[in-house]
């Protein structure tokens, strides 16, 4: 009798554990077992000449280290192991590899063209897709330490997303206005494409399709299962919903603006987009009116459920590992606003030195035990 009870309890415990693991794997959180990681937020400061990478301990929201990396840092990308981080420097034209366990630079590579921008890396850490403002993406093999392919989109190389399976890369060329094209360093022909370029990583980095989006692509984010993409576009204060397998825009969310807001941002766009609350919400910024919006994306079109005043020029936004905290970088007022997703409430504001301009961020669950490290 006692043995039967014990077997039942052990069985229930095992079932619960497997169910939790399966759920976590499904949403893409926690690549490492609980308790073996240290959650840290890495924040680029584009205006700071030194100490331009701030590392914040997420549980306490305290700054734990400042590092000096390449000037005007832009893209930040980490593989699934999250024990390394690749940051591009617009000014230097380099990519730096940072050991996130020790928080130190371990390698620097050059040759990524004019102003390397927002990159992404395959989950296994093998291929880094690095766009350049000059209009192309370099595919950098981190094992061979060489560029193995170039991909042209006829737009300004800007945002990049790679799906959780490492199968497809999505390239988002910036359309830009004529001012963007007067740069003397740019020599390629351009068509200012209103589309996302789809690349099959497993087929030798071949372009296999496009997703028309109607205007210049802006920051995107993929759902954990890779089936939905949410993205900002030029001249839309809101975001698009894309059916990724169908490669088609299926819905559009627009901010509910007051008449005065409508009169002061007709040509503006939203910038910075994040998925929170187990995939049920999208948070995105209205940069012109210094506001962050929350939408329920379980319905189409997405339904606006909250809006918050933030600092000046909110431009980038990322979630914590569990998707229950949101960080909004406001470079115009040198601050970061932190939100509690469940309570729909501002938690705190972190001030940066005047002129630092906190910009792009990444939240990592960094392995703390050597056994948990997989990328080195």
């Amino acid at each position: 009798m006692r043995l039967r009870q014990l077997t039942l309890i052990v069985g229930l415990v095992l079932l619960t554990t497997f169910t939790m693991r399966a759920q976590n794997a499904q949403v893409g959180y926690y690549p490492h077992p609980p308790g073996t990681t240290h959650e840290k937020l890495y924040v680029n400061s584009q205006g700071a000449p030194i100490n331009n990478l701030t590392i914040i301990d997420v549980p306490t929201l305290k700054v734990i280290k400042k590092m000096t990396i390449g000037a005007e840092p832009h893209g930040v990308a980490a593989p699934k192991s999250q024990d390394v981080l690749y940051i591009s420097s617009m000014h230097d034209g380099t990519v730096q590899k940072i050991d996130t366990v020790k928080d130190e630079i371990v390698k620097v590579w050059g040759g990524f063209g004019v102003e390397p921008e927002e990159n992404d890396i395959t989950p296994d850490g093998r291929f880094l897709y690095q766009p350049s403002y000059a209009g192309y993406w370099s595919v950098f093999d981190t094992q061979k330490e060489e560029i193995v392919a170039y991909i042209h989109t006829l737009g300004i190389g800007h945002n990049t997303l790679i799906d959780a399976q490492g199968h497809f890369a999505y390239l988002f060329p910036l359309k830009g206005d004529p001012g963007h094209w007067r740069r003397p360093s740019l020599g390629l022909a351009r068509t200012m494409p209103n589309e996302v370029t789809v690349v099959d990583i497993t087929k030798n980095h071949q372009v296999v399709g496009t997703i028309p989006v109607g205007d210049g692509p802006r920051p995107p984010i993929l759902s954990a299962d890779g089936k939905r993409m949410y993205m900002n576009v030029d001249r839309l204060l809101g975001f698009l919903v894309i059916d990724v397998p169908a490669r088609k825009v299926i819905s559009k969310a627009t901010f509910a603006l007051t008449p005065d807001e409508q009169a002061s941002g007709a040509n503006a766009h939203a910038h910075g987009i994040a998925i929170a609350n187990n995939g049920k919400e999208v948070w995105t910024n209205d940069t012109v009116h210094n506001t962050t919006y929350v939408f329920d994306v379980t319905v189409l079109p997405p339904k606006q459920i909250a809006k918050f005043p933030v600092g000046s020029g909110p431009y980038w936004i990322v979630p914590s590992q569990d998707g229950m905290t949101i960080f909004v970088a406001c470079p115009g007022s040198d601050e970061m606003v932190v939100f509690d997703v469940a309570a729909k409430k501002e938690k705190t504001r972190l001030k940066f030195p005047a002129g630092d301009r906190p910009t792009r961020m990444i939240d990592l669950a960094v392995p703390v035990t050597p056994a948990a490290r997989t990328s080195r």
Partner: protein, 177 residues
């Protein structure tokens, strides 16, 4: 009935044309008249480099792609040097022409020394989003960064009874903001 409708429409068209013509004819070349003048007391801008914020409104003309659209523009009026000289006043739109973020005036010497154009240590407008820098002494002219022009200007008009009147804005502002 048809004749009355025709006459009514004709009169409406005439009214719109007259209003558009009046706005164009009365504005300075390259500028567009605001719906209402912005009035700011002169004593509020007596200290150099202490800007006063304002919101200006214009309605787009019938000839524009979106006729009748109301446009609100955030601006600042500031004094570049001490004294009563009207030419020392500047009125600028604080929306960056690049990506429409709001620019801010930087007067801190340490920050100015770090910025582009630091050979000219005078105050500058700075865009936090992408780092464009504009010369505050030279009516917001472009110094560096991805913006392809300077800040949009308002015209500082008459000064009556200690009040400055701003009643025109650069035409290009209306198609960008």
């Amino acid at each position: 009935m048809v004749r009355r409708t025709f006459l009514g429409l004709g009169l409406m068209l005439l009214g719109f044309s007259r209003r558009a013509w009046a706005q164009l004819a009365s504005a300075s070349p390259g500028y567009y008249r605001l719906t209402h003048p912005v009035r700011i007391r002169l004593d509020t801008v007596s200290t150099p480099w202490h800007p006063v914020s304002f919101v200006a409104e214009a309605v787009l003309p019938q000839t524009s792609p979106t006729p009748g659209r109301r446009v609100l523009m955030n601006g600042v009026l500031y004094r570049k040097e001490s004294g009563d000289d009207r030419s020392a006043l500047s009125a600028l739109c604080v929306t960056c022409p690049h990506e429409l973020c709001e620019v801010s005036l930087v007067t801190d010497e340490a920050r100015l020394a770090r910025m582009s154009g630091s050979d000219k240590p005078n105050p500058k407008f700075f865009c936090g989003c992408h780092g464009s820098v504009f010369d505050a002494l030279d009516d917001g002219s472009w110094i560096s960064g991805p913006a392809d022009r300077g800040l949009f200007n308002f015209l500082v008009g008459s000064i009556t009874d200690g009040t400055v009147e701003i009643d025109e804005v650069e035409v290009e502002t209306l198609s960008v903001v």
